[in-house]
Symmetry: C2
Subunit: 201 residues, 2 copies
């Protein structure tokens, strides 16, 4: 693959786009309006693990993205949140976000992140990673103040936080890679892109 | 201590200031022009550990900051880099940065971070943390391209990188907390500030 092949990020996530941009990677964002609900329901019904769901969604997003050209290389990524075995969906509004934070308050949760690279038609690389985070017990007053201050951005993330922003205030303990928590494990991804000649080594 | 006591950050580091700001913490930056060299030389001569040097420098910076008022609470922090037992100084210019990166290339290094909170006259809280990072083997061409693209900001950090920016391209492996790598372990600091009633809990 040529170093000039267009690199496509199949993600609506502003955090993922910002991570690649600040890491100095040239790419085109090709967000897909992909309805994850049926896939999620099927996974839940089959009792499959969250990591497998994240991997399937990452690949489905990559495949749904329109390639920029015949030799486009597409990065797909997905993040799934589980708390005590339960899968969480993105909150639709502030009321939903309040409910999510009340459920995560005082508990640990997991972020299962999958990323894949789709070459022409084929997945050429996959990676899965996991982060564990423990929210401190949050009062309703704190949650309301947090949601007020953080604004609509909290809805972009399934856990209703940006760890690189106000979200850090919610936690007492974090285990795992910061880039995984933000939804894109940069170190292994950049390593692959270098080995494949897609970014300068 | 009142929740309205002015919180002072005794640091010139833009990364530290940005971290507290994005975490939603109200503070005043009171950077001190503190010459670290004599203290460093004394520590080196005495063969003391890097973590002790970081702790001493963090406290010295906090003490050197002009308090905003009688009840000012001052946060001091310092980060010391060692590679194979050798202490590194900040590079003065691009040539120095090139030399630092050549020495860190293909090797592991440690970031020893100390943070303290100085109440009126007394250190009321201290914390030390450590991160380990492994740079991949970097070609001279890559280093030159990196320094060109990253610009003068690389000189702000002893390791000549911002992990939250282009710096991530330098690494093959990272162990340790992202906030520690950026020079301010936020989770334990925020925990202390909450317990002391200095920020909302």
């Amino acid at each position: 693959m040529s170093i000039h092949a267009p690199l496509v990020l199949a993600s609506k996530s502003m955090a993922r786009q910002a991570m690649l941009t600040t890491a100095g990677i040239d790419f085109v964002a090709a967000p897909t309006d992909f309805d994850e609900t049926p896939l999620k329901r099927r996974y839940l019904a089959a009792g499959k693990p969250a990591s497998a769901l994240a991997a399937t969604l990452a690949e489905a997003k990559a495949r749904a993205a329109s390639p920029e050209g015949a030799d486009a290389v597409i990065i797909g990524a997905d993040q799934v949140l589980t708390c005590e075995g339960r899968l969480f969906d993105k909150a639709p509004d502030k009321t939903g976000a309040r409910s999510v934070l009340r459920q995560l308050s005082g508990r640990g949760h997991e972020l299962h992140v999958a990323v894949c690279v789709l070459g022409p038609g084929t997945v050429v690389w996959r990676h899965e990673s996991l982060a564990r985070l423990w929210m401190r017990p949050l009062s309703d007053d704190f949650i309301d103040g947090y949601l007020e201050q953080a604004g609509g951005e909290v809805l972009w993330s399934v856990g209703c936080y940006q760890i690189e922003g106000l979200g850090v205030q919610l936690f007492e303990r974090i285990e795992g890679d910061h880039f995984t928590i933000q939804g894109l494990p940069l170190l292994p991804l950049l390593d692959y892109l270098r080995r494949a000649g897609l970014i300068p080594a």
